[in-house]
Structures are given as C-alpha cells and as structure tokens.
Subunit: 344 residues, 2 copies
DNA sequence: GCGAGGCTCGACAACGTTGTCAAGCACTTC
DNA sequence: GAAGTGCTTGACAACGTTGTCGAGCCTCGC
C-alpha cells in the first residue's frame, strides 16, 4: 500500500544528502563520516525500514546479482528437487537470486527463454539437464557466464559438475561384496548415456578388484523403468545358478525387480539382495523392505555450480574446473548376506 | 563479450533521437512517425540485435513484470512440478517472469526471502503449499498482491485455487460403482487436512447417491505413506465379507495396499480393484498393474493462479475469487468389475 | 594572523528507459 | 505574405542508485 521509501526519504529524514546515506549504508571504505551522522542515517533508515531498490542499484552497477538455471525438465521432474534446493540456498547465502526456467526440452522455447533472461540482465547461467548428459551449450549462451549442472561438455573452458557414476557403481557393488555375495547381477539401462556406461564400469571394476571374473550372463539391460526391471529381473532370476544379489541401474528398475522376485517366490533380502540407484524416496521408502540404494549428490551439485558461477563472475580469471561428485550409499533394508551357499 | 547495445546505439545508427527509437519500438499509440523513420529505426535495432534493458525499463515504469512463487516445499517435492510448469508457462506467455523460492517450511527464512524479493521489486506473489492447506498469509505480504496456490485462507479478499477434493473423492468412488462394486472400502489419511475430509465426503456422497449406506467398517485411516496403506490394507482385506474394491487416499497408500493384497494372495484387479489419488507417475506407472488414480489439477492451478494475479495487477478492481478445480480420473489397469458375487 | 592540511559532506553525472511537452517544418488559407 | 494547421521529431526530466570530485570548515603550526 504505502509506497516503498527511497534513499531520498532517508536522506531528508536524517538531514543529510543521498550521497551520504549511500556511503553510510554501504560502508564505503575510505569514506570519513562522523559517528554522529552515521547513526542518524542508520536510525532514519531503520525507522523507514528502508530497503534499497535493487533494480536501480543493478542499473547503476551493471550487475543484477541474478542467476538463471535453465534446464530441460528439472523443475518438473521428481528427480532433482535437491539440485534446485542446493543451488537456491547457495545463491541466497551470498545474496544472489536464482531464477528457474524450463525449456521442456524444446530448443526453440529454450532459445526464447534465454533471450528473455539476458534481456533481464541475468548475470550468469546454470545449464542443467534432467540426468547426467553430454550436451552442446546453446549458442545464445556464448557471451554469458555459464556453468553446467548434471552435465558435461567437451569445451573445457566451461565448468561443470556431474555425479561420479563409476564410483557410484563401484560402491553399490562393493556393498554387496562386503556382505559376502559372489554372484552379483546387474540390471543396466539400455540407453547409451554416461550413467549406463559409468555404473557398469564401476560394477566391473569392483568385481575384478575382489578377484571375481565378471560373468556376462549376469548382466541384463532393459528400459529404465519398472517394467524394464521386471523383465530383466525375471531373466536374471531364472539363471542357474541364480545370482544372490542384483545391482539395479535405478530405483524404478529395482521396483520392477521386486515384482519379479515376488513372482518367483523369492524374499528380499533373505533370498535376494537388491541395491538401487538414485535414492528416489517415493520408491525406496515405499517398497517392502526399504530399498538400499545409491544417492545422486544433487544438493551438492547445485550448490557447487552456483558457487563456482559466482566465483567466476566476481573474478573472471578463476580457472575452469570440471568435477565429478561422489555418490553416497543410503542403506535401507534390501541387503543382507547370502543364504548359506545355495548353489555350492 | 561485446557489450549489449543500448537504445542510444540504435538511435545514433538510425540517425534519430532515443525518444524516437523508444516510440517506434514500443508502437506508442497516438505518435505520428513517418514510415521512413520507422523502418530505419527497426532496421538499426535489428542489425544491432537490440533488446531493451528491462531493469532500466522496470525502474522507469515502476513495474518489474516479475512474479514470485514462494512455497514451503514445492520446488523440491515430486508432487507438484506441474504447478510450476503451469505457472511458468502462463507467465511467459504474457511476458512475465517467475521466480521460485523455497522456504523449507521455516517462517524465518520465508520472511527473509520475501523481503529480499520485495527489494527486488517483485510485482506480485504466488503463495503455494506442498499440499492443499488452509494457511495464514505471512504479514510481510500484506502490502503486496498475492494469490494462494493449492491453499486457501479465510480472508476472502485474497484469491485462491485449490483442488476440488470432494469431487475427486466422488469421481473415484463413482468409477468403482460404475463397474458394479457395492462393497467399496476407503483407506484414508489420518492427518486432519482438507484432502482427508474432502475425499471422505466425496466417497460418502457417491455411495449414498448410489443407494448404498456407507459402512464404517470399510473405512480405515493410516499414515499417508506406503506403510500406512499396507497396514490399513491388511485390516480391510481381513474383513468378512471382504471389500471388492478400495479407494486409497493417495498413490503411496495404494502402493502399500498392493503389497498387502499380494501378501493375501489377491490379484489386482481380478480379486480387488484399487483406485489411488495424486497420479504420482513414479508409482502409478511403476506398479503392476498400473494404478488407476485421480489426478490433481496441478498444471491448471498454476496457470490459473498466475493469470489471476496478473489480471489483478493490471486492473486492481478485478474482484477476488476463490476457486476449486476439478480432479480428473487417469485410468490404468487396477479397476475391473468384481468377481461374480464372491460373498453373496 | 595566516596558510596548510585534515576531516566531513554534498553536487553532479551516469546507468537505460519512457512520458511530456514543445519545437521545427511544410503546407494551407485568407 | 502572414498566420494558422498538421505532421514529425527531439530535449528534458525522472525512476533510485552509486562513484567521482571538489567544497567547506576546523585545527594546527609558525
């Protein structure tokens, strides 16, 4: 209702010039202003609950302190709310604002949105994808500061964060090995994306490191959905000898595997241990027993990306870095030691 | 890299004053400017790919064309990406921008975020909650234009949109009645929120309208999670005679019911029809068979809220409205006619 | 008593726009 | 030929800030 008060109001109430108000409130170094004036200004500002108009400030400073996160789907996917949260908290901790924009995967609306954002004087961009991908950065972004989030690109001058898929595959497999499992299956994704290859690599290397020669027969691929996990699960459970544990590409496939196991009359974890990936709580907590899985470092990635972007905005000489973040295990109830040598 | 070009650049390239450029580019009505000048200006603007600086424009116009959606959890919850999408698309269709802010449910950070947003000259606020709630609008918002999203409040001067829970409960129950079910159970939420009461009301009224006297024994309550649905499901399935169909408060509880049914050796939908609520695709598509459920009108609510807010911003006399939006059924595979009179 | 020097503070311009108002010019009209 | 009439266009101020620069005044030292 009441119009917001401006620096002029503060100035006249304190009986000083706007210049002085600005100097006091911004604590401009090197400015000598008497303590008396300082406190008069501060008090006036308080009384009017003055807040500088940041549009005016941005205009003057040629810096908006606004970051934009443009992504294909992030904001509308259950996957990655934590990315947003991490980014937002990091931004607001440093006094920056974060805008979210969804392109829905459409290049044309993406282009339009980026242009609109640039027109709004956004200082920097987070370019994020719904899942770990190798991307081409849109040409419109060429002139702006950019950081890739949950994605990588070939241009090493562009900083990026993504999950360490290999380490994730390794740690999931290791979890099973630690319980004494030797015949460990893998239900992998059929799509050719970094996660597919990375998690497989991690799985294989964990096995080899444990002195187990990987068995091709224990690796199935399918659509990365419950139905894919169900089909692949059935196939794997019908092997002879049967695997005593299965690592699934993601929690949705693990959900399908649960169904397959139930159909074969196998109890989890007594007859079959299962490890998922993604830590989708809706699934992992909903399943019986709860699904032990590997979490993607969404929150950390979001925070890292924002911090890196701001750092490079404030000091353009900061070198570009491309990092992979660790994926931690989240234990629930789907893993136990194998039943006493079933096939031995 | 290259500095963005300003209206001055366009003016000098076209050989006219900035005033003229502004008039031409904004198509100011009532201004007579020769076609020759017009096209010279347009061409110059094109060649420089000029885009007006919207911070400067906002400063001048005292209107930022930015909306903020502040919510407790929305951006980080799988629940409601569609709310965001609907809001964002409606905003960008009219040339407005939408900012998202999460308070995490903490009043203090909420306060801080709102203040920061107001300082950024945000024109209006969408105040959204993770699930349909009756809320108190934060005092800081008192002076700003506000629309409630997926929430209501007692102050009728504040517009709001929320799902029509009663209609949702009704349509879900009706779906089962239409298939010929007569003994229809309800697994309801134990929390005292509008959805709990509304869906129950809808369930009861559908039953009565079909000439069936509701049976208290067929209504169970539990925590609104898979485990709650599991427990309540077990209880309901052990009734004699057993219900032939069950309507669940949400898809998570339905997931638990699936587990309970499996444990009792009941097939869905042959032995038991199930209807959920929320249309959480991760669950509804992941279950076998797919879960028939009722969707919340998230997208529509987001769009409605933005449109209403903008309309009231542009014409402050627009009357305030509090609406409830219909919840549509999404059919998958968990409903069929009852087996031939099992208990009759 | 006078100049030098230090301490406070304010005038002004600029950031990029847009609305207001008036000025310039060609052309009628008497 | 002078005054009036349209039609085009531009000067200027303002939106709310902040950085630069200089002005005023007080004190000190000789």
């Amino acid at each position: 209702m009441a119009k917001r008060s401006s620096i002029k109001d503060v100035a006249s109430r304190a009986g000083v010039s706007v210049t002085t108000v600005s100097h006091v409130l911004n604590d401009v170094p090197g400015k000598r202003i008497s303590d008396d004036t300082r406190s008069r200004v501060r008090q006036a500002a308080d009384e009017l609950s003055y807040r500088p108009n940041s549009m005016a400030r941005s205009l003057r400073l040629q810096r908006s302190h606004i970051l934009a996160m443009v992504s294909d789907q992030i904001a509308t996917t259950p996957h990655a709310g934590q990315i947003i949260l991490g980014a937002q908290e990091a931004a607001s901790k440093r006094g920056w604002l974060l805008m979210l924009v969804n392109s829905g995967g459409d290049r044309e609306t993406e282009r339009a949105e980026i242009l609109a954002l640039q027109q709004r004087q956004v200082d920097g961009f987070l370019y994020a994808t719904m899942y770990h991908q190798v991307v081409d950065v849109p040409a419109e972004l060429g002139d702006s500061a950019v950081t890739l989030l949950d994605a990588r690109c070939d241009d090493r001058r562009i900083p990026s964060v993504a999950p360490d898929e290999v380490q994730g595959g390794q740690v999931a497999t290791q979890l099973l090995l630690d319980q004494g499992h030797r015949r460990i299956g893998l239900i992998n994704n059929a799509d050719d994306i970094p996660a597919t290859e990375g998690r497989l690599t991690g799985y294989l290397s964990a096995l080899r490191e444990a002195g187990i020669e990987p068995d091709d027969d224990l690796v199935e691929r399918g659509r990365s959905e419950a139905s894919g996990g169900y089909a692949a699960g059935l196939a794997l459970l019908d092997r002879d000898p049967r695997p005593t544990a299965i690592f699934c590409f993601n929690d949705r496939m693990a959900m399908g595997l649960y169904q397959a196991a139930a159909e074969r009359g196998l109890r989890i974890p007594e007859d079959l241990s299962v490890v998922g990936f993604d830590n989708q709580e809706l699934i992992a907590d909903g399943l019986r027993p709860g699904l032990t899985t590997v979490a993607l470092p969404h929150y950390e990635m979001g925070a890292w990306a924002v911090e890196t972007l701001i750092r490079r905005l404030e000091d353009p000489d900061t070198p570009s870095e491309q990092v992979l973040l660790r994926c931690p295990v989240v234990e629930r109830g789907s893993v136990s030691p194998p039943a006493a040598s079933p096939g031995a």
